[in-house]
C-alpha cells in the first residue's frame, strides 16, 4: 500500500492525454468516440483514487453515475453516427461538415 495517490493521478493524467491525442488526430468518428470513453475512464480513475484517499464512498457513487451517463451517451451518439452514415455514406469527421459555416 505504499503507492502514493499521485501515482494514480499520474496514470490517470497519461490516460487522459492519450485520449486527447485520439480525439485530435483521428478522423474516424467512432475512434474519436472511443477516445472520449478513454478520457471518461481516466477521470473515473481520479475519482476512485480520491475516494480511497478520503476513505469515503461518495467518489465511487459518482463514478457509478458517470458510467451510467456514459452508457446513455454512447447509445445516443452511436445512433447519431449510424444515422449520419446512412445519409452521407461516411463517418469521417472531415466530410461531415454541413453544420460548418
Amino acid at each position: 500500500m505504499e503507492i502514493p495517490i499521485s501515482y494514480y493521478l499520474l496514470l490517470s493524467g497519461i490516460l487522459f492525454t492519450i485520449g486527447v491525442v485520439g480525439v485530435l488526430t483521428r478522423r474516424n468518428a467512432i475512434v474519436v468516440f472511443m477516445s472520449i470513453e478513454l478520457m471518461l475512464n481516466a477521470v473515473n480513475l481520479t475519482l476512485v483514487a480520491f475516494s480511497k484517499q478520503f476513505n469515503s464512498l461518495d467518489g465511487q457513487i459518482f463514478v457509478f453515475f458517470v458510467m451510467v451517463v456514459a452508457a446513455a451517451e454512447v447509445a445516443v451518439g452511436l445512433a447519431l453516427i449510424v444515422a449520419i452514415f446512412r445519409l452521407k455514406q461516411t463517418v469521417s469527421i472531415d466530410k461531415i461538415n454541413i453544420m460548418k459555416w
Partner: protein, 166 residues
C-alpha cells in the same frame, strides 16, 4: 517493492499500452480490442483501490455493454477492409502542441500539489456493494430515480434516431 506494487505497475503499463494501441492502430477493430484491454486494466486498478464493486461494474458496463455497442457501430457503418482513417498531417503539429501543453500542466499540478492533506487512511479491502446500496437508497435517492428517466430518454431517443426512414 511489494507484490502489490508490482501488480500496480503491471496493470498501469498494460492499460497505457492498450490505450496507445487504440489510438495509433489503423484498423478500427484493433482499436476496439485495445480499448477492451484498456478497460480491463482500469478495472484492475479499481481493485487495487479497494473499489471491488466498481471493478465488476466496469467490466460489465464498459466491456460487456459499451464496447459491444461500439463494435456494432463499426459493423454498421463501414467496410473495414477499405477504411480511410489516415491522420491529416496538417493537424498533427497543433495537436501535438496542444497535447503536450495539457500533459505538462497536468504533470506540474500533480507534482507540485501536496496531496496528503488528510492522513492517509489504512486501506480497507472490504466489499463495498452493500454500502453503495445503502447510499443509493438514502443520500443518492433522487439521482438514482433521475437515472431511470435519463436511461428512458436515451433509449427512446437512440431508437428514434437509428430507425429507418424517419
Amino acid at each position: 517493492m511489494s507484490l502489490f506494487d508490482v501488480i500496480f505497475y503491471l496493470f498501469a503499463a498494460f492499460t497505457l499500452a492498450s490505450a496507445a494501441l487504440m489510438v495509433v492502430s489503423k484498423n478500427i477493430v484493433h482499436s476496439a480490442v485495445g480499448l477492451l484491454f484498456s478497460f480491463f486494466g482500469v478495472a484492475g486498478i479499481y481493485v487495487l483501490l479497494a473499489a471491488d464493486f466498481l471493478a465488476v461494474v466496469q467490466v460489465l458496463v464498459y466491456v460487456g455493454g459499451i464496447l459491444i455497442l461500439l463494435l456494432f457501430g463499426v459493423m454498421l457503418t463501414q467496410r473495414i477492409t477499405s477504411v480511410d482513417m489516415r491522420t491529416g498531417t496538417l493537424q498533427l503539429v497543433p495537436a501535438i502542441l496542444a497535447v503536450a501543453g495539457i500533459f505538462v500542466i497536468l504533470f506540474r499540478v500533480i507534482r507540485t500539489t501536496s496531496w496528503n492533506i488528510v492522513p492517509e487512511a489504512e486501506a480497507q479491502f472490504i466489499p463495498t456493494a452493500e454500502k453503495i446500496g445503502y447510499l443509493l437508497m438514502t443520500d443518492f435517492l433522487i439521482p438514482f430515480e433521475i437515472v431511470s428517466v435519463l436511461l428512458l430518454a436515451a433509449l427512446i431517443g437512440a431508437a428514434f434516431i437509428a430507425r429507418k426512414g424517419t
